[in-house]
């Protein structure tokens, strides 16, 4: 295919561009720039930018020192040894007299060293760029910028770089590295028996992933699909029941001629104002075995003896349905507020235009009000679906994932992927399995988000409804 070929070509030129630029700089550059490829900062010194050159040189010297001396923390080295350790994850098996190599720290330090190396490469490239720029400045203006000018520039035109650097560094250190670390753990057999310093753990490839689908003993695999199914059922009902319930409530409250609209709205918004964990725990006690609701049901003779609707419910579905109902009470006010906003924004003339064409109330609702609300609230719908997939508090506070299920592999009847993940890692120290669930959850939510959002009208027609 002609088209395909150019596509590949374009891809190849795109990825080769930095290397071509690197090569060109080396060939075009002055002696100083050429030198910069070996000793960082020498190009700047060559052009008389002493301070700048020194800073670059210190960076290179510091990195070299770090890599060669391999400083140790908790008897685990960083530097070049960390690369080797990242591959082996430790060789020293422990016994009563000698502790084992700490595989977890080795993995962590391997990742950290890779991060430091990437930052070094970035500085290395910018050192060459800076020397090359000095070449160009001499060619074009006959002089180079002074350190003072450069520093001023960093507070002036290039202030965004000064401001963004700490944020970017923070994102790398606190988000990117831990994420990579977590992803890597999913490919090891790091669990309760192989705690740090007691026993080595090792790379196991995709074994953890296959265990979720084709475990010979069947334990995890047998639980994974049911938990996933319940997670999706929960997310579906929690999202759409809340959504349409909110719209219905909003339609009722915003009816023309209803008196005390503000009071009604305030009553429902109160549930938002109360911290969620307070209202969830209160609800749990209210309908619990010894709570007032049970008391009432027993005394009026509807139930012969107290029965649990949540953690100790006789049937999994009793607990599941109760959770969904309680969630309605927590979630509907949000979507009501949102839908109210949309409804109040629909111009009256749209209704009049439809009415004059003969549309009845139901037709107007179906053809005008609903498309309008859905259009405006689709992004909310998507984020609330994703939020519900990972909705930890509601499940954990109401049932802690219970009632128990036979062969549950820790997962109870109402456990979602996230609460199962929490139990696996915090209670059971099955770090590898927890990491796999984390990755799978991420895949599910990102696919759902990308596909639905890109297909939604809100994305395609950003300008509509203005």
């Amino acid at each position: 295919m002609e088209n395909n070929k150019t596509g590949i070509n374009r891809f190849l030129t795109k990825i080769s561009k930095p290397f071509v630029r690197f090569y060109n700089r080396f060939m075009d550059g002055s002696l100083g720039t050429k030198m910069s490829h070996f000793v960082m900062g020498s190009g700047n010194v060559y052009h008389g930018q002493i301070i700048k050159g020194l800073i670059y040189f210190i960076i290179q010297a510091g990195y070299a020192l770090f890599m060669i001396t391999c400083p140790e923390v908790n008897k685990t080295p960083l530097g070049y040894k960390a690369f080797i350790n990242l591959i082996t994850l430790g060789t020293q098996e422990g016994d009563i007299f000698t502790p084992a190599d700490n595989s977890m720290l080795m993995l962590l330090f391997g990742v950290v060293t890779i991060g430091i190396t990437l930052m070094y490469l970035f500085a290395y490239n910018s050192g060459i760029k800076s020397s090359y720029k000095a070449d160009q400045d001499i060619k074009n203006y006959g002089k180079v910028t002074s350190f003072k000018q450069d520093a001023k520039e960093m507070l002036g035109n290039r202030f965004y770089i000064t401001m963004l650097t700490p944020a970017a560094l923070g994102a790398v250190v606190f988000t990117l590295l831990p994420t990579i670390f977590m992803i890597l753990i999913a490919f090891t057999n790091y669990d309760k028996e192989r705690q740090a310093g007691l026993k080595l753990f090792d790379w196991v490839g995709f074994d953890n992933f296959t265990a979720f689908f084709t475990n010979p003993t069947g334990e995890i695999a047998a639980r994974f699909l049911p938990v996933l199914a319940w997670t999706l059922i929960w997310a579906f009902f929690a999202t759409f029941l809340n959504y349409y319930g909110g719209i219905l409530l909003a339609l009722l409250i915003n009816r023309k001629g209803l008196k005390g609209k503000k009071i009604f709205r305030a009553i429902f918004v109160l549930t938002i104002a109360i911290p969620q964990f307070v209202s969830l725990l209160a609800m749990r006690n209210l309908i619990g075995e010894y709570g007032p609701l049970q008391n009432f049901l027993v005394q009026t003779g509807i139930l012969s003896e107290p029965m649990s609707f949540l953690a100790n419910a006789p049937n999994v579905w009793t607990a599941r349905i109760t959770i969904i109902l309680i969630n309605l009470w927590v979630g509907i006010p949000y979507s009501m507020l949102l839908a109210s906003g949309a409804i109040m924004n629909i111009p009256e003339s749209l209704y009049e235009a439809a009415k004059i064409d003969g549309a009845r109330k139901f037709t107007i609702l179906r053809k005008i009000t609903m498309p309008y609300i859905v259009f405006i609230t689709t992004p909310y719908l998507i984020s609330s679906f994703v939020g519900n997939i990972t909705s930890f508090n509601i499940i954990y506070l109401l049932t802690s994932g219970n009632p128990k299920v036979t062969g549950g592999y820790i997962a109870g009847g109402t456990d979602l992927l996230v609460t199962w993940l929490y139990k696996l890692t915090i209670d059971e120290q099955q770090y590898n399995l927890g990491a796999v669930i984390g990755i799978l959850t991420f895949l599910i939510t990102s696919i759902v988000t990308l596909v639905t959002y890109r297909r939604s009208k809100s994305y395609k027609e950003e300008d509509a409804f203005q």
């Binding site: 111009p347 003339s349 749209l350 009049e352 235009a353 439809a354 009415k355 004059i356 064409d357 003969g358 549309a359 037709t363 053809k367 005008i368 498309p371 309008y372 259009f375 009208k457 027609e461 300008d463 509509a464 409804f465």
Partner: protein
């Protein structure tokens, strides 16, 4: 022509303490292009909404073809509306918007498609069926709104400041097109605007309104040349409006100087308002006129000069093609038939009989 299609009899409408319409009597002929003209808050849009069935009058009757329709809902009134801000359904395409009414009436889809094509042609948007509303310009959206109203085959089309949101050039083009459409479709148009020039350009009949009352009904020429009262003169075009005294029939004292005029029947020494259009004032050398004044300001306006002349007690606005020097002493003259004398008190509009036949 000449058949009354809509009649308003003694219509009142209040919003709380605010009287939006204060007793309106009006009839509209079949096929006419009638404009309700007035400043914001004069009651013109409310009048339109009463005709359209979106508001119930607090008093009075609305007749359609001689039948009272006060209680008939909007969609059964044989009329349709083009709204100020188009009120298009942005989640539907151009074609679906236009087809909205017929679809609800469950007409067969092939027939609807044919009709949609036909009306797109009428509003000059052939081939736009599948476009999204958001991709259209303001002028195009307005055309879609007109097509959506016309496809329901109303006998009367109500237009609520439909060109208000367009820029000047586009507005002029759309005015021409609206006139052509009116001729082609042949139904009655009732048009609301606050733009006097638009009203003069488009209308067969203009109804000038203020404070919920009709000030004057007439053809554009009548309204411009023979304003009923100071408000109409002030609102339509530019004028010199001067408090004066009618000395006797055919003689009026303006700015303390007697002028001959053609009006009669005001009595002797009666207080009146006199309206003189700036282009009707003739400047002559100071010794050739009884009324003398001093030029205070000369501004070039393109077609003419706008000259302000300070008289004994009134500053005259004059339009002339001949420039004058600031500070010069000049004479002010007006031909008798260009002096319009009117009562100072606002004129009560008499019932329908006084409406001008077109």
């Amino acid at each position: 022509m000449g058949k009354k299609i809509i009649e308003l009899k003694n219509i009142y409408k209040k919003y709380g303490d605010f009287t939006a319409i204060d007793g309106i009597n009006l009839y509209i002929n079949e096929g006419e292009f009638l404009t309700l003209l007035g400043p914001s808050g004069c009651g013109k849009t409310t009048t339109l909404r009463v005709i359209g069935g979106f508001e119930q009058p607090d008093g009075g009757d609305v007749l359609f073809d001689g039948v009272r329709i006060n209680d008939v809902p909007a969609h059964k009134r044989m009329l349709n509306t083009v709204f100020q801000k188009y009120a298009l359904f942005t989640h539907l395409t151009v074609g679906q918007n236009i087809a909205f009414g017929p679809t609800i009436k469950k007409i067969n889809p092939e027939q609807i498609q044919k009709e949609v094509k036909n009306y797109l042609k009428i509003v000059n948007l052939e081939g736009y069926e599948d476009r999204d509303i958001s991709t259209l310009s303001g002028g195009q959206q307005q055309r879609v709104a007109i097509a959506r109203a016309l496809i329901n085959k109303p006998k009367v089309l109500l237009l609520d400041e439909p060109l208000g949101a367009l820029d000047l050039k586009l507005r002029k083009d759309m005015q021409d097109e609206l006139k052509t459409m009116h001729k082609d479709v042949g139904i009655t148009f009732i048009y609301v605007t606050h733009d006097q020039e638009e009203a003069l350009t488009l209308s067969d009949t203009i109804v000038v309104m203020n404070n919920g009352r009709i000030q004057q009904i007439g053809t554009p020429v009548d309204i411009y040349n023979e304003p009923n009262n100071a408000f109409v003169a002030y609102f339509i075009g530019e004028s010199n409006i001067i408090h004066s005294t009618m000395v006797k029939d055919k003689l009026v004292s303006i700015d303390n100087v007697d002028f001959e005029c053609v009006d009669t029947g005001f009595g002797q020494n009666a207080p009146v308002d006199v309206v003189v259009r700036p282009e009707d004032v003739v400047l002559v050398p100071a010794d050739k006129a009884k009324l003398k004044g001093k030029v205070t300001l000369v501004t070039f306006k393109g077609v003419h000069y706008e000259i302000w002349v300070e008289g004994p007690s009134f500053e005259w606005k004059v339009h002339s093609t001949i420039p004058q020097m600031v500070g010069d002493e000049l004479g002010v003259t007006v031909d008798p038939y260009n002096i319009h004398v009117m009562h100072q008190a606002p004129i009560e509009i008499k019932p329908v009989e006084t409406a001008v036949e077109v």
